[in-house]
């Protein structure tokens, strides 16, 4: 473990520098995306005002507002652009340079991306969590921050990131065959976002559909951590969802290894 950290630390450092370079860019993009959260916030406020009921399919207004902002935070932090990075390297052939070095391809990417994530961690994490907790305080009149749920959320978030990373690397390998990425990545982001519960909580789906989606790997990416954070899961459900997250993580790591071994044999680098 110590040895691994020593080998891959420079990649993390490079990631931090890269993120710092594009800091301003990142702030503007995040501000643009947060606007979407506020639109949803006003939309749900109007829904609760018009419906007249205290809850909407089991969610109170406070739950819903927390859901909107925490699911945005979760998908920003668990975001991985492994599929672009891997695909680009395959397309321009620089992947060959990685193959001649005595390091693991996936770990080098992983550690670099962890470094890049420090930017979203420092800029988005504290303001969003503090904002949501303050909102809850003013809406309910009492301080309802649960340390246990928060710690469990962090564990679930880390698992979500790792699953997302390996899923995206697997997806990026499609460039070995297709050599063309923009359209397919856009399509993937749309569908995965929906299945992960970023548009609406999976609890709002028709029961049969919801049950299936809960077991798919996508629920583990956003929905599971958020539900843990806002305290909608019982201890038994939390245990089950951790088991599922670990299962999908192992599944995608294994799949990644299998595809890599198979693909290396048919890699053809164009030009040189």
């Amino acid at each position: 473990m110590r040895k691994i950290l020593k080998i891959y630390k420079p990649f993390t450092h490079a990631g931090v520098l890269l993120a710092a370079q594009y800091r301003i860019n990142f702030i503007f993009f995040i501000l643009g995306d947060i606007l979407m959260c506020f639109i949803n916030y006003f939309l749900w406020k109007a829904v609760f005002n018009s419906g007249g009921a205290e809850t909407f399919m089991g969610f109170s207004e406070v739950d819903m507002v927390s859901y909107i902002f925490i699911s945005f935070l979760t998908s920003t932090l668990a975001y991985s652009d492994g599929s672009y990075a891997v695909g680009e390297e395959i397309r321009d052939g620089s992947i060959a340079m990685r193959m001649i070095k005595p390091i693991r391809f996936d770990l080098a990417f992983l550690f670099q991306e962890l470094g890049e994530r420090t930017m979203s961690l420092t800029l988005a994490f504290v303001p969003l969590v503090a904002g949501v907790e303050l909102f809850k305080f003013f809406a309910t009149g009492s301080f309802r921050f649960s340390i246990i749920n928060f710690v469990l959320y962090l564990v679930s978030l880390i698992l979500a990131y790792l699953i997302n990373f390996y899923f995206n690397v697997c997806y990026g390998y499609s460039a070995f065959v297709l050599k063309n990425l923009w359209g397919s990545n856009f399509l993937k982001d749309c569908i995965v976002g929906f299945l992960a519960g970023r548009t609406i909580p999976l609890a709002f789906m028709p029961p049969a559909v919801g049950a299936v989606l809960n077991f798919l790997p996508f629920a583990s990416l956003t929905y599971t951590p958020v539900m843990i954070y806002i305290g909608m899961y019982s201890p038994a459900q939390i245990a089950l969802s951790f088991a599922l997250q670990i299962f999908w993580l192992v599944f995608f790591i294994a799949l990644q290894q299998i595809i890599w071994n198979a693909c290396v044999k048919r890699l053809s680098v164009q030009g040189g």
């Binding site: 643009g32 606007l35 006003f42 829904v47 018009s50 359209g183 548009t199």
Partner: protein, 269 residues
């Protein structure tokens, strides 16, 4: 006569450029199809989201489901038309100026703004256009809308000037790059405000409503004109506001653009 001749030349050039761009696209057929399909799916998901909300409540702030669908569909049309014709403005703010590639437009015997926008014909926009037309046509029978020559004329006028609101805002924010070298992220932040226009502005609080109506007036691209057609209201405000906002932003955009072009310094190589 001279103006007519000039216009003919512009349209002929436009055709030639689009033809060239379509040829390039045929090279990446699969990318084009997946891009348009993804936009279609993204909008479909949003409509599904709205239908789930309306399965639990009778109306949203007094607006029925069909009315919301009409406003939503209306919002997509100017967005799609602007997307179709002026997508290259994004590239201005993202990399064209920074890399010094703007030089090539200066050497051409046509207006720089025309040369930039005409270079790219963004067919992805057809995804939004199709969904917009589809939503409008399914909602028209169930909203209270009288189809007469005057309303059709007002519809076309609203559409044209709503498109100019989009183009004007993109133009102003991309032109900032002439001074700062890069402004794609600023364009992105302002452009995202358009998402507010898909819903009735009455659901927002006063500050947000004031911003999206009068400062970054995206409300005039969808909610105000659309609500004139389905809920009545003062056409001088709802449609006239769109005309004024579109004209002012576009004029400002052209002004800033030309000021920017004269301030442009190429990147050293």
């Amino acid at each position: 006569m001279k103006i007519l001749k000039k216009l003919r030349r512009v349209f002929r050039l436009h055709r030639i450029f689009i033809k060239q761009d379509l040829k390039r696209l045929m090279e990446y057929k699969i990318d084009f199809v997946t891009g348009a399909v993804a936009l279609l799916i993204a909008q479909g998901i949003n409509v599904f989201f709205l239908s789930i909300i309306f399965s639990q409540i009778p109306n949203l702030d007094g607006w029925a489901f069909e009315q919301i669908i009409f406003i939503y569909g209306f919002a997509l049309l100017p967005k799609a038309i602007d997307h179709l014709f002026t997508d290259n403005l994004w590239a201005i703010g993202h990399f064209i100026i920074r890399k010094g590639d703007f030089d090539k437009y200066l050497t051409r015997p046509i207006n720089t703004l025309f040369a930039v926008t005409v270079e790219k014909f963004q067919v992805d926009a057809f995804g939004e256009l199709i969904v917009g037309i589809l939503l409008l046509s399914v909602s028209v029978p169930s909203v209270n809308l009288s189809i007469n020559p005057l309303n059709i004329l007002l519809f076309v006028i609203a559409l044209v000037f709503a498109t100019l609101i989009y183009t004007g805002i993109k133009l102003i924010t991309s032109s900032v790059a002439f001074w700062t070298k890069r402004s794609g992220n600023i364009t992105y932040m302002f452009y995202m405000v358009n998402e507010f226009s898909k819903y009735p502005t009455t659901i927002y609080n006063r500050a947000v409503r004031a911003v999206v109506s009068y400062i970054i007036p995206f409300a005039f691209t969808a909610f105000f004109p659309a609500s004139y057609f389905i809920a009545g209201g003062n056409p001088w405000f709802n449609i006239g506001g769109t005309v004024i906002a579109g004209s002012v932003l576009m004029a400002l955009g052209i002004l800033v653009w030309h000021k920017g072009v004269s301030a442009y310094e190429s990147a050293g190589s």
